[in-house]
Symmetry: C2
Subunit: 482 residues, 2 copies
């Protein structure tokens, strides 16, 4: 057995010499060292973490990326890989030591090819998610990964954080949509794992190890992604219900009736939508009355619009008969369907306008969601009377964005001091319900210490052993995740 | 960073003392040492490898399994985990040194629970696949993993080898059907990763590392598996076509028309079915004439039998219009549907009766299958004139069982001497087409050396680093896979 990956024995390198070598690899214009020019790369999307760096380096190819990482390994310079820098847990910005190099993958942005019969698209890490969706749809195919940041996030970041989003219920997370990856490992070697295969049982699953590793084991530079047939129709409904429990029963019914045709199932509490209509008064819910909970349902169909609408209407009537829901709107046009999704997408914006809040991204077994909400709501109300919970999310995946806003009349700054106590209640509760404190965002800097409370010692030991085996110098995105 | 997993420093233990300790853990009746009693555990399913062992030990619980592995680590005794022992690449039998302990998981056979709303079932490693399918269907759900050995293989083995089978096209491999695992690692620690979550981004993907690792990193003792709604109807058709290329075009059309409703798409060459009708004369193909290729198509439907049949008939007429196929039978009853599947399932048996043959389990990108078959057939005919190729498999997954039988008049024993040369031609060709030499069976003993010809040095280094990090004493299923 070979043990850890071998590293060069050379020592650190003087700063200017190192930068010269970087310039030799990517060209002088792609080594950014001015503070103003580096600024956008050094602060995270939520504006909560600002770090520093030796330089931001922008390779254009996998070979340049490999040469840079090999140089960093030789010079013992930490590497912080960065895509669109849209992460929510500060996993793509450097720490404040100023020792690291940020490697921006945005120039690796070629779509290398589409294979219609294999239903795959091969893309470089810096491709914007929306560009991949568009390339797929231009080729008559669907690339289903879809999330709020799709106009600016990159696929490399999506894979490094195993992104989720609104289509997971039917198509899975980023991990499930990826057949193969190309990786620059911590030694600066290129691993060509760009396989377009549905089946390959020839060794350890390195692909899935790099996916979701948040750049701490190496840099994903390209990927082979799965494509699907474009649905012939997509129809949406908004329904009003009495409780999360009723929403769960509706979910079971919808799965039984529509199977893989059910492509969206989003829960939104009344307060979540109240915030939307308060801050975006042009938006309307449009149901006959108010309900404690709402669900946005989407059905995709390979036959026709009429067939899809028929299925959805039958589902809604059956649910009404079983008294699972109080009222429903089935969108009769693409515009109306977009308006319904828009309500869902405006929750985060509305909450930001309302004031500071404490975000969570938790998952529990789907069957336990109603109980989780009831119990956690009660614990929070007890500790922070009047706290306003913006509960919404991907109910079909067991994933809630369970966010907390200040009680009426309590100043944001006072409220936010309770942040740690709120996190503790929510995360302890999640853990008791067999859940995860990071369903789709990752750990990054934000939850790196928090996770140690909830993972078993044996799991942490195995993670550390793997990190140490593949990145023995701890140079890949240090301080993140592990 | 912690480096490798720490191991106890104690040295080897005398034989009888070790066996006494084993008996203390699992009870005397579950430590088998007699050669006759051990025999069924020491020879692989195909009867090609017979090893030896200190003992076969049969724990009944995860805790017993952990205690055994800890004891083996302390005594430096290699551990060979075994489920149903139905693998095709000799991955569950010990080598001939007689140094190892076979740990049979067959007594860990409880179904721990079914969660209908979460759509999951929690099972222990020794559960027979068919028992899990039945438990699911008794609960009104589908557990889709399905393969020839389902009556005797265990889910632990299915996960350890990332089993494929006939439902991968729609539902994925064993990996895709598993949400969480419980593992006894090489140190004898229990890792409780039994999460029933659709989304969990809190660290390295250890689950997928243990899945497909063929027992070389630890022992999977239990798993949380995904369930699906039971389809309301399944309809099957057998169609005759002129070429693999026509089959590929039919596949694209079927995916476009049926999307996730397409649950089976198996290719069978004429010679494959000729063997079936020759050795099982009661079986009939039933088409109007003979065709060079056949495809078995299956559609599953959440609405009704009539809807499913309508879809399938529309697909077949459209394909006829496009001249993709020459004739078709759409099964009009469950019995007829079973008879069609039975043709497919009898190919392996028929080939065994016909004589010795050289098996392959390759995958290539789906778009390249027709070209792969044409080119590889030609290379083999040139090297072994008259060689008879039994080409069949899961076309929808790009996975072929591309098996070779002796030319007419050539004795089996003479033919089988060419085995290595045949493997070289088929595997080199697979590699040139960007494929895998083990699509669904794994590497085991059989392909452990072969894979070194095709994997890059960097991939082998990373695999070795992981093995060494998690199993530094190389005690877990040594000599298999890596």
């Amino acid at each position: 057995m070979g043990g850890k990956m071998k590293q060069s024995e050379a020592g650190p390198m003087a700063g200017e010499d190192f930068l010269q070598r970087c310039r030799g690899i990517v060209g002088p214009g792609n080594v950014i060292t001015g503070q103003d020019d580096m600024a956008p790369y050094l602060t995270d999307w939520r504006g909560r973490y600002t770090g520093n760096a030796v330089a931001v380096v922008r390779p254009a190819t996998t070979q340049e990326t490999a040469a840079l990482v090999a140089l960093c390994a030789q010079a013992r310079v930490p590497v912080v890989p960065q895509g669109g820098n849209t992460g929510l847990v500060a996993n793509s910005v450097p720490d404040q030591s100023g020792q690291a190099v940020v490697v921006s993958l945005k120039r690796l942005n070629r779509i290398r090819g589409v294979d219609l019969v294999n239903n795959t698209i091969t893309v470089e890490a810096g491709c914007i998610l929306e560009e991949i969706q568009n390339a797929a749809s231009d080729a008559g195919r669907l690339f289903p990964l879809s999330l709020a940041a799709e106009g600016s996030c990159t696929i490399g970041g999506n894979l490094a954080t195993n992104a989720g989003g609104t289509a997971v219920l039917r198509y899975g997370n980023a991990r499930d949509l990826c057949l193969g990856v190309e990786v620059v490992n911590a030694q600066g070697d290129i691993w060509d794992g760009l396989r377009g295969l549905r089946k390959d049982n020839t060794g350890y699953d390195l692909r899935d190890l790099f996916i979701g590793a948040e750049g701490t084991l190496g840099i994903i530079t390209a990927a082979v992604l799965k494509l699907y047939p474009l649905p012939k129709a997509q129809v949406t409904a908004l329904v009003g219900l009495q409780s999360p429990q009723a929403a769960l029963e509706l979910l079971s019914l919808a799965q039984e009736t529509c199977a893989a045709g059910l492509t969206g199932f989003e829960l939104m509490s009344r307060f979540s939508l109240d915030l939307v209509t308060r801050h975006f008064p042009q938006m309307r819910i449009g149901l006959s009355e108010e309900f404690p909970q709402y669900v946005l349902l989407e059905i995709s169909d390979s036959e026709s619009e009429a067939h899809a609408t028929g299925l959805l209407e039958a589902l809604v009537s059956e649910a009404m008969e079983r008294e699972l829901l109080g009222d429903a709107i089935v969108a009769s046009s693409i515009a109306q369907s977009k308006a319904l999704w828009s309500l869902r997408e405006h929750i985060t914006l509305a909450q930001a306008i309302e004031g500071k809040h404490v975000k969570h991204d938790v998952s529990v077994p789907i069957s336990r969601i109603a109980e989780f909400i009831r119990e956690t709501d009660a614990l929070l109300q007890e500790a922070f009377p009047g706290i306003r919970l913006v509960t919404f999310g991907h109910l079909g995946d067991g994933n809630l964005h369970y966010n907390a806003s200040a009680p009426e009349g309590v100043a944001d700054d006072v409220f936010i001091q309770g942040q740690e106590a709120i996190n503790r209640i929510v995360h302890d509760s999640t853990h008791r319900f067999g859940g995860s404190i990071s369903a789709e965002h990752g750990l990054g800097t934000l939850k790196r210490d928090e996770i140690k409370r909830y993972k078993s010692a044996v799991e942490l030991r195995m993670m550390t052993a793997i990190k140490s085996a593949l990145d023995p110098l701890n140079l890949m995105n240090p301080g993140k995740m592990i």
